[in-house]
Point group: C2
Chain length 282, copies 2
DNA sequence: ACCTGTGAAGGACTTCACAGCG
DNA sequence: CGCTGTGAAGTCCTTCACAGGT
């Protein structure tokens, strides 16, 4: 999403449609619209599929071959009904009374998310974050290899970061075409972000991950997802403020549920994993 | 979001409720539930308020004193009806026929988001991302100062990063208490994340920003927001795949809208800004 | 005239709950 | 008997459209 999330999300709470004038369906009875040619998977479900995929990869590595909706759901942090519905959007690959075969699900989710095609990423803005991204090298499973780096700083030109030499932003069109870049990650300060984005679009890049605190204007065929740390922190801030404002909830009678467990199901995610974060040093 | 573009999309897809058993209202007519004591602002609206705040700060700097819902909305990438509804959740601070006073709105949004209280942030995991976060110093307006850094690596102990010396993760409880930390940003590899999170919770931190590719298990009084780059990229991937699968939409008759403008309203966001991204070098 | 604030309609996503298959 | 897959109900969010100030 992000979303959404940017959920988004988130993000999230996360969608960018604003530019296009919408069709406005004809009057009268609300017709189903013959527009759903392919399976239309809810945006929110797509984001979760990516999460399930990560969890499933962890399971595969632990040689787990079968998993129930309940298990998978709790490891992914959702409830099982939601998980089953999400999976139902991509087809019926479970076995009633048993569960899902891990390998099969992985394959189907990868296919749905378009991970059979490899996406090559360009990072623009080689500051602290740019470095982090450039070194992010191996993503969970099928990688999103970083294949180009750009900056304005003359001192950086040609300097290799994470094994890739930095090019000048003016070369974005040429280099992106040569290296078949499909995703651009904008990690510049706010000021230069729209300009960089325009160049990426010009170069034919149709997916942008924006870390700059700016709302990018793009033609509608381009998909932008935004990651904004300040926004995330402000949302956290809101929730704390809200909680301290709303002191003690008078004990709800008739439901003595509490003694919240601190950590359950802490195995699946924490297992032996090559699923390294984006951090390099421990 | 995830959401794509803005909300993430995100995200959107970002919430962590699973543990608690819900009350199940009594049978019969669905009662409104007397549960909405304080103004309950939709989660989705909160995320956008943070975005409006950033745009408004930019306007304030440009000495703009008044703004209409239409202007503010387009700068924030949402439609004006949504913006007005969002603002209505925090009260009526506009003037009909005129618009909103920038300074007033900023104040009200800050109050709503709890930004009157300052939040001190601890970063755990001083790798590439950790460095980026530590140097992120000044957030848009009211800062979220980074006040503590932690890692496992003995070589890093005491080394200052962004002006703050690194402490050992074993000291999280003590240091967090001493420095009154309210937000923890987990930038460790997946393996150590849950452990670090448990220590933060133990230290009384109730807000966590999680960058590790793991679903953290926390007691319900703790709020977790997750930022997962791999997930964001996979969502982008899904949208590209989908578009190339669904070739040409046969020209929709009766609606010749197109010629999408590449960039409109590119001023507000790009203005002279101290709103530096998290990148240090240009 | 213009723009805000908001009820009401509409749409999207979530949860329930159970039929149906292994 | 357990677990998946899914209509139906419910909840949350968005968009419409207009009443009501200025």
């Amino acid at each position: 999403m992000t979303a959404h999330g940017e959920g988004v999300r988130d993000d999230g709470p996360r969608d960018a449609d604003e530019t296009a004038a919408q069709p406005r369906p004809a009057e009268g009875i609300t017709v189903p619209e013959p527009q759903d040619r392919a399976r239309s998977i809810p945006e929110a479900a797509v984001a979760r599929l990516a999460v399930y995929l990560r969890v499933l990869s962890g399971l595969a590595e632990q040689e787990v071959h079968t998993v129930s909706s309940e298990e998978l759901a709790s490891a992914a942090g959702v409830n099982s009904a939601k998980l089953r519905k999400d999976l139902s959007y991509i087809g019926s690959y479970g076995t009633r009374g048993v569960g899902y075969e891990v390998a099969v699900l992985i394959g189907q989710i990868e296919r749905t998310l378009g991970l059979t095609q490899q996406h090559r990423v360009a990072v623009i803005g080689i500051g602290n974050l740019g470095h982090a991204l450039a070194n992010y090298g191996g993503f969970p499973n099928r990688g999103f290899p970083v294949a180009a780096l750009f900056d304005l700083d003359p001192d950086l030109m040609g300097v290799p970061v994470g094994g890739i030499p930095v090019d000048h932003v003016d070369d974005i069109p040429r280099v992106c075409a040569e290296r078949d870049i499909t995703i651009g990650a904008i990690a510049t300060p706010a000021k230069g972000a729209q300009d960089v984005c325009d160049r990426l679009v010009q170069a034919g890049v149709r997916c942008v991950l924006n870390f700059a605190p700016v709302v990018l204007q793009v033609p509608e065929e381009v998909e932008v997802r935004k990651v904004d740390l300040a926004v995330e922190m402000q949302i956290l801030s809101f929730h704390v403020a809200r909680r301290s404002q709303e002191p003690q909830e008078s004990g709800d009678p008739g439901d003595g549920v509490d003694g919240t467990p601190q950590s359950k199901t802490r195995d699946v995610n924490a297992g032996a994993d090559p699923v390294d974060g984006m951090v390099v040093r421990s």
